[in-house]
Amino acid sequence: MTAPALTLTDLTRILRESAGEDESVNLDGDILDTPFAELGYDSLALLEAASRIEREVGIRLSEDALGDAETPRLFLNLVNEPITSTT
């Protein structure tokens, strides 16, 4: 069984739900490589989103690795890596 990979759409939905959305940012735009800081999300917002993802997907993410995932692309790679590799 392969769990469905987390998509950018999933990530932006979870970010909106758990940490809200900065008015000056378009989360539906091309943001894969935009640093979270520029999207208005600090480390606590990412921690909050990560904990939601851990619950939804049923995985554990390392806090050190989370700290290095500075863009949505890196974040998605981190989340989807264990899902695909452990099945």
Partner: protein
């Protein structure tokens, strides 16, 4: 000396009015915000009444980034800080960030937010607890969020002295202004009416158990048997008089005097500290008792405490002399928000030449020899006002306010 500290901005959020003018109009008309708790079924609680702020739209004021990380008290404090700065006609972005500070009072912290997270902790597990719980409930969070929102990185802090905090914060903010911080946002806003917050307050033994909004909170009355809790408060902008004049700001009034004392240990035969706090504030203002036009009372609503306050006032001013009022009979006691709201009301009384009334004191106790302004507002010139606040645990604080000199009030009709 030219070192006066003045109030240039007021932002109010109260159970009987959201926004300064809404609150003031309701207060002068004697409109009470005390009613049965509406946000949950409180019929099973021994104290089912509160002064709730019912028409505050947090989402209309704050970004969706802020909503998930803030308790109700912080959402209200942030809105009030916006209004206070707008009232002061200050653009914080145009001022040096280390020249602006924030000093608020807090009595209980973010109980509603914390209750939700603790419920998740026990019902679902620790991984369901919000990361924002790390700061959303602690005492200093209103100061921190106001500081972040307006880019104020100067001297800041929080005062935790229960209801006295609303004045202690202003006293401390004034110290920062005197030491050279150009502008300090101060005051207090509390909102601890969630079930957990309410139950915690009930343990003080000072909450009224009446379910009748017109009888429950009757300070200085023979029937006084506790207070009704409320939520909200006021945020004020303090500046040095010199810098306020330099920028042509409208001045609501001067924080002319401040005094704080601590009560002797329970059971001591020594006099409670309240009279001394009043005298310290008057001395600090270099004013005599005769100069005071009106007193905004602490109005505990507990017989023994009412008697202590009335005796202190009678000792300083003489029995049944200076007009005394307690508009908090229309809001309930707002903890750290109460005294800041009284300071706002006193400044508005100076502006409009009218003192708001005290409601629902049908049978004033003979051992409370004070001249209460009852039931209807009283038109009178107010140049000097005394505001009193006491906090559970022995805190006493008093602030003397002076009106801005005539002719220095551009923008006032």
């Amino acid at each position: 000396m030219s070192g006066h500290t003045v109030v240039t901005g007021i932002g109010v959020i109260a159970p009987n009015g959201v926004g300064t003018e809404e609150f003031w109009a309701a207060t002068l008309k004697g409109v009470s915000g005390i009613d049965r708790i509406s946000r949950y079924d409180a019929s099973g609680y021994p104290s089912p009444l509160a002064g709730e702020v019912s028409d505050f739209d947090a989402a209309g004021h704050l970004s969706s980034r802020l909503l998930p990380q803030t308790d109700r008290m912080t959402q209200m404090a942030l809105a009030a800080s916006d209004w206070a700065l707008a009232d002061a006609a200050v653009d914080p972005a145009a001022l040096p960030e280390f020249g602006m500070g924030v000093v608020t009072a807090s009595a209980s912290g973010g109980f509603e937010f914390a209750q939700h997270e603790l419920q998740k902790l026990w019902s679902k597990g620790p991984e369901h607890v919000s990361a924002y719980q790390s700061f959303a409930w602690f005492y200093a969070v209103n100061t921190g969020q106001i500081s972040i929102r307006h880019g104020m990185r100067g001297p800041s802090g929080v005062l935790v002295t229960d209801q006295a905090g609303g004045l202690d914060a202003l006293g401390h903010a004034r110290r920062h202004v005197r030491k050279g911080t150009g502008l300090v946002v101060s005051g207090g806003v509390d909102a601890s009416l969630s079930p957990w917050g309410l139950v915690s307050q009930i343990t003080s033994g000072r909450l009224s158990r009446s379910a009748d909004p017109e009888r429950a909170y009757a300070p200085f009355d023979t029937s006084a048997d506790g207070h009704v809790p409320g939520e909200g408060g006021a945020i004020l902008v303090l500046e040095s008089e010199a810098s306020a004049r330099d920028r042509g700001a409208r001045i609501h009034g001067t924080i002319a005097g401040y005094g704080a004392t601590f009560d002797p240990a329970p059971g001591s035969a020594r006099e409670p500290g309240l009279r001394r706090a009043i005298e310290l504030a008057l001395a600090d203002a270099e004013l005599a008792a005769l100069d005071v036009d009106v007193v905004f009372a602490d109005a505990a609503g507990v017989r023994a405490l009412d008697r202590i306050e009335a005796e202190a006032l009678a000792a300083v001013f003489g029995p049944y002399t200076v007009p005394v009022t307690a508009p908090k009979t229309m809001t309930g006691r707002l903890y750290s928000g109460a005294a800041s709201l009284d300071v706002a009301a006193a400044l508005l009384a100076m502006r409009d030449g009218v003192v708001p009334p005290t409601l629902h004191v049908p049978d004033q106790a003979p051992d409370c020899p004070i001249s209460l302004v009852q039931d209807t507002a009283r038109e009178m010139t107010v140049r000097t006002a005394l505001v009193i606040a006491r906090g559970h645990g022995g805190f006493n604080a008093a602030v003397v306010l002076r009106a801005a000199p005539d002719g220095d009030r551009p923008g006032t009709p």
